[in-house]
Every structure is written in C-alpha cells, then in structure tokens.
C-alpha cells in the first residue's frame, strides 16, 4: 500500500489524495470488485480487465469526477480464461460495458458480434495515436477499440559481456548469427538468446517484422498468408540457428530462463516494451548490465515486430456507451494515467502525448546504453502493416503444437509453417468465413 501518513498531515495534496484513493481501490479489490459506493446520480459503468494496475486507474478516475462511476472486476488474463469469460458473457447477453481486448484478440472477440462500432466516437483522436496502435483497433477499417498501449519488440542484450569480448551489437540478422557464434565460442554454455517454440505470440511478432502480414481483410474476405515469403524466411533463419545450436530453447519467464538470464547463460532477449518491467522484476540485481536496441533487421531495412498490447472495447449491448467512452477516453489519453502507471511499471502508451508523459515520469537507472524511451519510440515508428485475424488466439496454440517436435528434428520450421497455414485456412473455412489463400492482392 502506498498510503503515506505524511500526505494526510500536510493537508490533502492532490497526489496524496490519489494515492489514498488508489490504496482504497486496491483494498476493495480483495473481494474481486471495487467496493466503494457510487456517488448519487452517477452513471455506473462496469469493466472487466486483467491490466496490471487497473484498480489504481479506476480509483483515480472515480475520485476525479462524480458523473461516471466505474466498477472494475479483475478477470483472468487473456488466454488463461479472460477471453473465454468475456466471450461467454457476450453470448449470454450479460457482458460488462467495457471489455479488455488485446490487439491480437480483437478480431476473434469481434466474431461474437458483441462489440460496439466506435468509428465515430474516436475519429477525432486518430492523429494522436501511434499509427501501429490505431491500425490495431481497425482490422477492417472500422474502429472497434480504444488503444491503451503498444508493445514493439526490442533486443535486450548484456552490454557488459558484449563489450568485454568485443562482440559488436548485431544490426542485421546475418550479424546476429555471427554474434551468436561468437557468444558460443566465448562460453560454450552460453547462448545469445532463447527462441521459445511454444509461444505463438512471440513467433508472430518475429514474423511481423518480415513484412508479410498473416491476415489481410479485403472487402468481405480474409487473405491468409502464414506461409508467405517473409514468414518462411524468418522460419528458415531460426531453423538454421536451432540446427547449428546457436540459440537456447528455454521458455521466456520460467525459472530456468530467469536463472539463465542472471548467471550469464543467456546474453540477450528478443523481448517487447513490457520486458523492461519483466527484467526489473525477474533479475533486479542485474543493474548496469543490460542495454536495449531496436531489433536486428533483414538486410538493413528498418522494421520491428510487436508482441502484445492492450485496447478496450465497448459492449454492443451496453446501455451506457457514452459514459463508457468518457472513461475510456480518460484512460487512454489523460496524462494522469501514465503518471500513475509509472509508479509500478514502465508504461508505453499508444497515445503519443501520453507517451511523452511516461517518458518524463520514467525513473531509469536499470539499463545502460541508449535511453529506454528513445529505443522504444524508434521501435514503434518502425512497425510495418499488420492485421490480426479472427483465429489468431487459436493459431497461437496451433503454432506451439506444430513447433513442438522442431528441436528434436521431427519437423523443420518452414514445413511446420506450411502445415499451420493449411490448418488455419481449414479452421476458418469450417466456421463459414470467406477465405482466400496467399498474399493480399
């Protein structure tokens, strides 16, 4: 709890008040819902979300005005049950007013027909959002969500070790292979990074960079291109890295991975903007060792993938869509939000003026090398076109299932990708969707 008595003694400062209300909100969360009562006459808006710190944002919003009262219920994260819960609620006609949708899950949620078209409500904000985030909530050219943050992928690396052994920071994937071999030569137990095969969202982010989007909405038809040239090139590159034993295979975030990152068996991480927080939490003692850079590129052409990112949708059956939008506009664009966020994480807002606020509020001290927000900004600028398909979440499972035997040589990544393409097309057609195979025309 951040309830500091000092702020009460010295009169009720705005920040102190915010902290207090945040603490109260957190206390109310024990029962799953914020328990503070709505002010009389306020419009009640319900929201389901698994965003870290959402309780604090909601408490700050409720404390700041008396017209709209937001009631939060924290649900399980996305594929751990959050999407299933929201989809079932939409089917049962008792969805909350505001739903948590990641960019990658938005089109799949849209298949329920449960989201409100926000095209008119958000049109005035277009120029204020990062283009990659804006495209993320507009899979078919209509706006279906309010962008919250963006998660461009970045390369984290042990600058101390790279410098000590004279290995230059790789700027292309060819250089990355050379650096990987150099790392292994210096320390046969060490690898340049891990390439987890059971994480579909990670592989999608890696392929995103290669410039051949897996899905494109063309009129009334989905063009599906999971075995496109760029993706196959990505697959072939990592297949050769795996065959030559230049990358580790540990799953990001496991104890094995944390131990490897800390004891110098892993010299790098192909991560996303949120890994800034992950590193600080998982290996807090590694201050001054790690630096970050934009991803290596294919032949010098600047491009960066994305892994994750949050947006919020409004239920099509919500009786208070205006009040819901009042809250979501505040959540997405009010400078108070990144200020609160910076106290417990490293937010990277989709809203550009708010991103400047987050940059200001960033504490720093952990990373060496280029400033964190400079790298993230540059990475966000480099994100190429991409559309998530209506079967993206399920595809992540298919990817991890199909990639399973890659390490033991049971299948190669390019072959697996061709199989995944067939699987995805068959799955979409079985649902009745209109599908065309191959690159968008």
């Amino acid at each position: 709890m951040e309830l500091s008595p000092a702020s009460w003694n010295g009169g009720l400062s705005r920040r102190g008040f915010l902290r207090a209300s945040a603490a109260l909100g957190a206390a109310g969360l024990v029962g799953g819902c914020t328990a503070t009562a709505a002010p009389p006459g306020a419009t009640k808006v319900t929201i389901w979300s698994w965003l870290t710190g959402m309780d604090k944002y909601v408490a700050a919003f409720n404390a700041g005005q008396r017209d709209v009262f937001v009631e939060l219920r924290v649900i399980a994260a996305g594929l751990s049950g959050g999407y299933a819960q929201q989809t079932n609620a939409i089917r049962a006609h008792n969805a909350p007013d505001v739903l948590h949708v990641e960019y990658q899950g938005l089109p799949q949620i849209l298949l329920t027909g449960g989201l409100r078209d926000l095209t008119a409500d958000l049109a005035d904000l277009e120029s204020q959002y990062s283009p990659a985030a804006w495209r993320g909530v507009r899979p078919d050219g209509r706006t279906w969500g309010v962008p919250m943050d963006l998660a461009p992928m970045v390369l984290y690396y042990r600058k101390d070790l790279f410098d000590q052994h004279g290995i230059p920071l790789p700027r292309t994937w060819d250089e990355f292979r050379t650096a990987a071999a150099a790392v292994k030569q210096v320390d046969p137990q060490a690898r340049i990074c891990s390439f987890p095969l059971n994480d579909g969202s990670f592989f999608a982010g890696m392929s995103w960079q290669a410039g051949d989007p897996w899905w494109t909405a063309q009129g009334d038809t989905w063009a599906v291109d999971i075995a496109g040239e760029g993706t196959l090139r990505t697959g072939a590159f990592w297949q050769s890295m795996i065959t030559e034993d230049l990358v580790a295979g540990v799953v990001h975030g496991t104890q094995d991975w944390i131990a490897g990152m800390h004891d110098g068996r892993l010299w790098g991480l192909l991560g996303a903007s949120w890994s800034v927080g992950t590193l600080g939490r998982s290996i807090p003692k590694d201050i001054g060792r790690w630096a970050m850079a934009t991803m290596p590129t294919w032949n010098g052409k600047p491009a960066n993938g994305v892994q994750g990112g949050t947006a919020f949708g409004v239920s099509a059956e919500s009786k208070v869509p205006e009040a819901a939008m009042t809250f979501l506009r505040w959540l997405s664009t009010n400078p108070e939000v990144p200020k609160i966020g910076s106290t417990f994480t490293t937010p990277f807002p989709a809203h550009l003026p708010n991103r400047a606020v987050a940059r200001q509020a960033y504490q720093g001290g952990y990373f060496v090398g280029d400033p964190v927000y400079d790298v993230l900004d540059e990475a966000a600028k480099r994100v190429p076109d991409w559309t998530w398909g209506p079967n993206a979440l399920r595809l992540f499972s298919t990817i991890s299932d199909t990639f399973g035997p890659v390490r033991s040589g049971g299948i190669t990544l390019p072959d697996a990708l061709r199989r995944i393409q067939q699987h995805a097309v068959a799955d979409m057609r079985a649902k009745g969707l209109s599908v065309r195979e191959g690159k968008a025309a």
């Binding site: 999407y83 027909g113 038809t221 799953v251 209506p390 299932d401 033991s408 009745g432």
Partner: protein
C-alpha cells in the same frame, strides 16, 4: 477362495425388503432428507449433462469477415463427426492410452505393495510411513505439478543430470507426466487397500500361518484374493482418472513445447471451449469422453465380477 468374498450388496436387500405400505408423513421426511442430495445432483450433474447434450447438437456459422456475428444452426451430429474425424482427438486418445499403460499398473502395484508392507508386522513407524506416502495426495495437483516441473527443468532441476536425458523432451514427457500422477495417487490407493486389509479376518491369516504359509504366501494367496473387489474398484477409478488426465500435462505445457494443447482428451475439450471458442465441439467431445469412460468402467466391472465368481 470365492467363499471369502464378502456377500454382495446386503444393503440393497434391506431396502427392497422394507414394508411396501408407508405413511405420507414418512414419505415427506424421506424426501426432505434426500432433498439436499437431489437438488445438488440435479443442479450440478443432470442439468449440465443435458445442457451439454443440447449444446453438442448446435454450432455457430459465420459469414464473410465474421464481424456481423454468428448464427446458431442445428448441426445434427456434425460436431460429433468433427471430433471423431479430428486427428488431434485420436492423438489425445493415444497419449492417454499410453499414459494409462504406464500409470495404472505402477499406481496399483505400488499401492498394493506398500499396503501389504504396512499391514505386515515388519514395518516400524507405521503411522509415519502411511502419512509420508499419503502426503502427495494432499498436495493440490497444480502445486505438485509445478514442483515436478521445476525438478524436470533441464537447467535448474536435478533430474536431467541424474537420468542423463531431458525429462521434458519429446519422448520422455509422457513418462514424466505419468510419474507426477503416480506420485500423487499411490498414497490414496494405498490407504484404500490398507483399510481393506484391516478387514481381513484374523482367523484366516492365523490359519494360513498355522498351515505353514510364510509372509509372501499369506499376502499373495490370502490377503490379495480377499481384497480383490476393492482392487477392482480402485482399477475402475484409476481408469477413469487416466482418461480424464488434465492438470499435470496442462502445468507442464507452460515449461515445454512438447505437450500439445490437445495432449489429452480433456485438454482437447478445454482447447475447443476456451481457446477456439467452439462450445458445440467441446460439448460433443465431452459426451464422447463420458461414453468411453462408461464403456471402459462397464468392461472392468464385468471382468471383476467374472473373476471373483
């Protein structure tokens, strides 16, 4: 030995022998006593089963990009056909069959041997031993799974170094999962067997001893045949449990890519319902699993009655 088997179902006989004429007040009291059970049975078993049967006959159809929402259509047996034709479901059944092949004999043999050892006078510190073997059952499966997953992890766990191969690798993951389940269930079955052994009449054991039977002979020819009905009940439970294996592979999936999302039939149902969002197919698969469970249990029971006759 069949003389030694306990008389079948004396309880049933008593109820059928009850006087046919009853007063209304008695009826009411009986209903009242049965109500909590009946309400729970109807509300948590019968209604969901019927609803699953209903769901399994419907599917959602989309058009174009799909953003205009789904249309509910009656699918006849389409969902069942989709599951039966799905290779992933076959692989899941195959995995579970292999799992059962490893798990069932090791759990039952392990539990039986431990129970016989506990029952014999050889064992000192009987309480401590039975508690030690039973403790894994008291550990929630998820936590047990996580503990094992850490032990299996190649870089931080000791098992890879002890065995010389990666317990989370392609070929080893099935025995690794079976090992977690066996660790969890040996103690539970041991307690069941041990309790049954306590009920073996002392006179028979003494008679056997007087006839010159040693410890092994007594265990194998007297005690095991006497508790055979209990063993068959344990077999039925273990068969059903094996078919429904879910938590152990689900936990290991977070640590390795070698466990697929549809590794076991239960995981297939989970994937269909909560990842693919296809409730019809999930319901159809659950009904199929229930049918397979029922058939297998019937086969085992049939086998057991034939053997104990």
């Amino acid at each position: 030995m069949s003389v030694l088997a306990p008389e079948r179902a004396p309880v049933l006989d008593e109820t059928t022998a009850a006087p046919p004429v009853r007063s209304r007040r008695k009826d009411f009291g009986g209903l009242l006593l049965a109500a909590p059970f009946a309400i729970l049975l109807v509300g948590t078993v019968l209604v969901p089963v019927l609803y699953a049967l209903y769901l399994s006959l419907f599917t959602e159809r989309l058009r174009g990009l799909g953003f205009s929402g789904p249309e509910h259509v009656f699918a006849w047996l389409g969902n069942y056909l989709a599951v039966i034709e799905d290779k992933a479901f076959h692989t899941g059944l195959g995995n579970v069959a292999l799992f059962a092949l490893v798990h069932i004999p090791s759990v039952l043999a392990g539990a039986l041997i431990l129970a016989l050892l506990l029952d014999s006078a050889v064992v000192w510190l009987r309480r401590m031993w039975s508690l030690a073997v039973f403790v894994p059952y008291a550990v929630p499966v998820v936590i047990g799974g996580l503990i094992w997953a850490y032990l299996y992890s190649p870089a931080i766990g000791p098992i890879k170094h002890l065995l010389g191969f990666d317990p989370l690798g392609d070929n080893a993951v099935l025995p690794s999962i079976a090992n977690i389940a066996t660790w969890q269930w040996v103690g539970y079955n041991m307690i069941i067997f041990y309790t049954a052994l306590q009920a073996v009449p002392k006179e028979i054991v003494e008679a056997a001893r007087a006839d010159g039977a040693g410890g092994f002979r007594t265990a194998w020819s007297i005690k095991v045949p006497v508790i055979r009905p209990t063993i068959f009940v344990a077999v039925v439970f273990t068969v059903i449990g094996s078919l429904q294996v879910f938590t152990e592979p689900m936990v290991l999936r977070g640590f390795t890519g070698t466990v697929t999302s549809t590794w076991s039939p239960s995981m297939y149902v989970y994937e269909a319902a909560f990842v693919a969002g296809d409730n019809g197919r999930a319901a159809a698969a659950s009904v199929l699993i229930a049918v397979i469970c029922a058939v297998l249990s019937a086969v085992v029971m049939r086998f057991s009655t034939r053997r104990s006759r």
